[in-house]
Assembly symmetry: C2
Homo-oligomer: 405 residues x 2
Amino acid sequence: MSSTAQSLNPLPELNPSRRLLLGPGPSMVHPRVLKAMSTPLIGHLDPEFLVIMDEIQESLRWLFRTTNTLTLPISGTGSAAMEAAIVNLVEPGDQVIVGVNGVFGSRMASMVERCGGRAIRVEIPWGKPIEPERIEQQLQTCQPVKAVAIVHAETSTGTLQPLDSIGQLCQQHKALFIVDAVTSLAGMEVNVDDWHIDACYSATQKCMSCPPGVAPLTFSENAVAHIRNRKSSCTSWYLDCSLISDYWNGTTRTYHHTAPISMAYALRESLRLIQEEGLEARIVRHQRNIQALIAGLRTFGFEFLPTIPYQLTTLLCVTLPSFIDDLKVRKALLNDFHIEIGGGLGSLAGKVWRIGLMGESSREEHVLTLLSALERLLSRETDVPTLGTSIQSALESFQQSNNFK
Amino acid sequence: MSSTAQSLNPLPELNPSRRLLLGPGPSMVHPRVLKAMSTPLIGHLDPEFLVIMDEIQESLRWLFRTTNTLTLPISGTGSAAMEAAIVNLVEPGDQVIVGVNGVFGSRMASMVERCGGRAIRVEIPWGKPIEPERIEQQLQTCQPVKAVAIVHAETSTGTLQPLDSIGQLCQQHKALFIVDAVTSLAGMEVNVDDWHIDACYSATQKCMSCPPGVAPLTFSENAVAHIRNRKSSCTSWYLDCSLISDYWNGTTRTYHHTAPISMAYALRESLRLIQEEGLEARIVRHQRNIQALIAGLRTFGFEFLPTIPYQLTTLLCVTLPSFIDDLKVRKALLNDFHIEIGGGLGSLAGKVWRIGLMGESSREEHVLTLLSALERLLSRETDVPTLGTSIQSALESFQQSNNFK
């Protein structure tokens, strides 16, 4: 045996610090979901597991507001579901219009190109939504267009993209409509069927409050027909949904790859929690809490990247006033208050914060905890209001929204 | 809101039956690993998580017996790591020799072709190992060969493939050596550096006794040079290890995709348990328990697919005597005794059982539990020995191997 064995330091017991997760994800996980994760495993072909798979699929259809048969969790994180949506539908030479107004639009375009498609990027300044006219123009000039790929809720900028009219344009031009709902599903309205979406994916660690590791994905019957009638094999075997669907939906339940059992347990429990709360109540909760956070943050002089109708109610992109030292404050939040918020990605690095109030992270007490920590930290700087001011504004906002509710 | 919300039946509490998992995986999970899974999450860029990542990487290097820098868990199950090994190294037009003597060799060949490579299949009857001469012949006639891909422990047939001389051949012919160690790592000897392996992957749910969901992968410095100097982009963005390594090994720890935090916790705890036991002791335990199982099964008249030096000590492929009704007995094992064993895949369906004694599933009491259940079930059939006979043989085997130990 090699001597490496002796030189390894024994690992200490796992004992991470307790954190309040208010970044772009992972969000806080409900104790019942954590408990579900520790359930002893059964096999991925056990008749009882097949029932669990059916339950997950039925619940995901409810959550996506769809009747799509091919609705399942991909065995990877959100980016794996993004890749699955694209590699299953895009064949070499296919033209795909991709809306790019943040990191995740760019990522979609890269995936289109890696599997042999041609990405037609519609570039928009970060923080602005994409006007449907820009998509329509490309649909008219670039025939044939296989698909239009759009991010519903840009995690890098906190921007909401209205989808209804783009879905109608896709229908008119017979293009498939691919939508990234990573930061919206289970926190904001997502209507797969009504909005004519052909492929929609999300992630578990955002508004679903489940650990990352599986990722919901749904394909319309039209998308499934494209998958079944491909001229070339899907470039990915692992994500090939024509094979995966035989395991999830086929009468034979043919083994494809070993499903991540414990993550399926967690996902099922998080879906149960969403059902118990009700989707409409959950969406209102996300609105109410982000409004209170916005009211509080305004008292410090913070502004926000997207304009109001395009602000997500799940993730807030805060532009930093000049007196804020990004890294210093975020480090102090983490070390002194055990609160995680996110920094900017790409060209927004150092210029914005991304504060997520998603799923279990979207709670009144978390809003107040973050504001009070910021008050204490920023009171060291000039030009900040007296202690309690942001809390007062947040509480007034809660009062108003309760009346509204 | 749609009326689907009302029509959904509430999910009952998660309450799967207790199972003894003695199939080809998932294996039993140690209670400490289940407990680790329920640990509250920290962020994937939290300084404490970066330490956990380093600990996992260092432990995986120890387990793979390698000094490879690029050693990490892929965010998917074993097949995702297989795909990562292949799509990172194989470019369009590359020739790859693939040993095919079971389902997983075929899967590798399919992945080579899907990312644009040419798979040169060396086909061998299922249950037989691949003679190095067959590989050498192809290395000589098919120049240039980018890589040779071999399964170390075929999960579909229980066959062990000696690797040392194939590794030397690859070195001589400057071909990369890709090895599937899904059913051997942490249960049998795997020597990545000594055997000149350039890419080796495994799965967590076999001999590591961790739930499925992440998958260990290591690349040699030579393989990394190939990845860095590719002429074309990797067809997969999600599995592109030139990007993933910036997160796992780069000084900037650049975000790629959100790591599956809870699965990382589980993997870390399973690595701790392996270290506490010691790799050599663990390998001996697997040998001792499978020998006892073999001794017991022989008393029923069972035979085994691979001949003795090529039998895995982690997974046993049992050829069924004519008096056994495959489905009927496996169903009774599951329903009456809560024991899962595996059936045959592909051309072996209905003809073999696959009994896994891997990680926590490889314990004396599980061997005895399975044999006693089989005795009770098969006593209904003719030509089986009196009750207790197989147990007696297993106990004698344990006695002998304890002396040996």
